[in-house]
């Protein structure tokens, strides 16, 4: 199929953190309004919208039926097709993909994608219960937690590739330093290796700081086909590749990689006609510190088993080959499930526009966004990747 070129023309985000006093509708409306103003488009020109939220642990408050319609009504967007999507932690990226696809195929010219979550309404017990008994292997009953998944991966990486606890801490130190330069991030303070290593143990070898916190917040983008975008901006950011795929769930692959990420990256590079050597910046799903090291390898930033060295040599830090998670990543922002994917896109748009201030990667032209979602039996369920160019 011949797909049209699509551009990100507007971005909008709330701060990520504790917003106990605000409704989920208000958070989402703030991000959507900011994105529309950033795009300089009339709200009446928005032809479709898709909103993402997982809301799994918010059942006590109801499941937020038709939340996107309720949100967009607050800013006068009515009488258009509006969808809700859910793909676990990659929900936001799926909203983005939905709008991207409907514009790329020519169905619409201007659309809005947003993601939102309120994580602080639930007790932590119910959040830890997110891996539940609809899984035939009964992972939750057997004691699996999200931290446990990546703790087991870290242990295997340590045995197989010599990854160290210090390497895991280095991921946190880098990302929290970037987070301290991002006024929207939940955690505004940098941390030291010693602080990370001596923090409370969650699931060995992962300490508290190696596990992303949770947060409330929202992020939104306005997408347009490239021709329409010219009417609104002189600095569009183009979607060079958009990929969504699901897991393989292999029983016989060393638990140091997710095949879903390897396949998604290969598809994305092919679609963009670009390779990892062309990337300047990347936002990758660092829900737990070892994930980022794994992603370097799965996304082709370095060879298999070289992730820790890529980190140690500063190749993912400011001044390195591919500067990773300049937003501070999930480790600084907190994981705002539905909003995470779109927030990653927003950071890359700032980098490619040259408006990322103190954390700006000079001359950034190509960025990769990577967002994982869900887990069942040895692998994440969902992987979404965008490659953005200016």
């Amino acid at each position: 199929m011949n797909l049209r070129k699509v551009a990100v023309v507007g971005i909008g985000e709330t701060s990520f953190g504790r917003h106990m006093e605000r409704s989920i509708t208000d958070l989402a409306a703030e991000a959507c309004l900011k994105a529309i103003k950033d795009a300089g488009v009339s709200h009446r020109k928005v032809q479709l919208a898709t909103g993402a939220y997982a809301a799994q642990w918010n059942s006590a408050l109801g499941q937020y039926f038709t939340l996107p319609q309720i949100v967009l009504r607050e800013i006068g967007i009515t009488q258009i097709p509006i969808f809700r999507v859910e793909n676990g932690c990659s929900s936001g990226s799926v909203a983005f993909r939905d709008v991207w696809y409907r514009i790329a195929t020519g169905e619409y010219d201007i659309g809005l994608a947003f993601g939102v979550e309120k994580m602080n309404v639930a007790d932590s017990k119910s959040i830890r219960g997110q891996i539940s008994d609809h899984v035939p292997e009964r992972d939750f009953d057997l004691g699996l937690t999200a931290a446990g998944i990546y703790a087991m991966m870290a242990r295997r990486m340590m045995a197989q590739y010599g990854v160290t606890r210090e390497n895991l801490a280095q991921v946190v130190v880098k990302n929290r330093r970037f987070g301290s330069m991002n006024p929207l991030a939940q955690y505004q303070d940098a941390v030291t290796i010693d602080e990370v290593l001596s923090a409370r143990m969650i699931s060995d070898p992962l300490t508290l700081y190696m596990c992303c916190g949770r947060g409330d917040g929202a992020a939104a983008v306005i997408l347009m086909d490239a021709e329409t975008a010219k009417q609104y901006t002189t600095h569009p950011v183009y979607v060079a590749a958009n990929v969504l795929t699901s897991g393989t769930y292999a029983d016989d692959v060393d638990f140091v990689t997710f095949d879903v990420d390897v396949r998604a990256a290969a598809q994305a590079y092919e679609m963009a006609g670009l390779g990892p050597e062309d990337l300047d910046v990347a936002e990758v799903h660092d829900s737990f510190a070892p994930a980022e090291i794994k992603h370097y390898e799965d996304l082709g930033f370095c060879a298999r088993g070289e992730g820790a060295r890529f980190l140690e040599e500063g190749l993912s830090d400011m001044g390195g080959k591919i500067v990773v998670n300049t937003s501070g990543g999930l480790l600084s922002k907190g994981h705002v499930i539905g909003a995470t994917g779109i927030s990653q896109v927003c950071e890359l748009v700032k980098q490619l526009r040259g408006t990322a201030h103190h954390r700006q990667v000079e001359g950034a032209k190509v960025g990769l966004q990577h967002n994982s979602g869900g887990y069942v039996h040895t692998e994440f369920c969902s992987c979404a990747i965008n490659i953005l160019t200016r």
Binding site: S203, D204, F255
Partner: protein
Amino acid sequence: MKLLDPSLFKETEEGLALVGQKCRTCGKIAFPKKRVCPACFSDDLEDKLLSKTGTLHTFTCTYLGVPHLNPPYVIGFVDLPEKIRLLSLITDCEPWDEVLQVDMPMEMVIDKLMEDEQGEDVYCYKFRPKGAADRK
């Protein structure tokens, strides 16, 4: 004995064993049993008892765990000869950080997992280092 999920187990002369499926068309072994072979979609399937020994692919000691288990507890992936990777609680391994090694041999035991809402014990499979019983 109340089992977490009786469909995962089969009674044998040597006690409870885990039971999966083997596809008569392509030979693929899967666990737990499914409606079709996930490899070739055949529904010509037979029960396949799984080995009670395997190797420890990786593990972690969890201090902030699921609400029904008392932390800290140790979980891991155990790889069976049938090329099935099981998530399993690991038992009889104290001190875990000295005893457990990646790729070490393991053996299955049936052990109490938790209590249900009525206070009745619920049992499930667990794995322990091979020969751990002899060391006790």
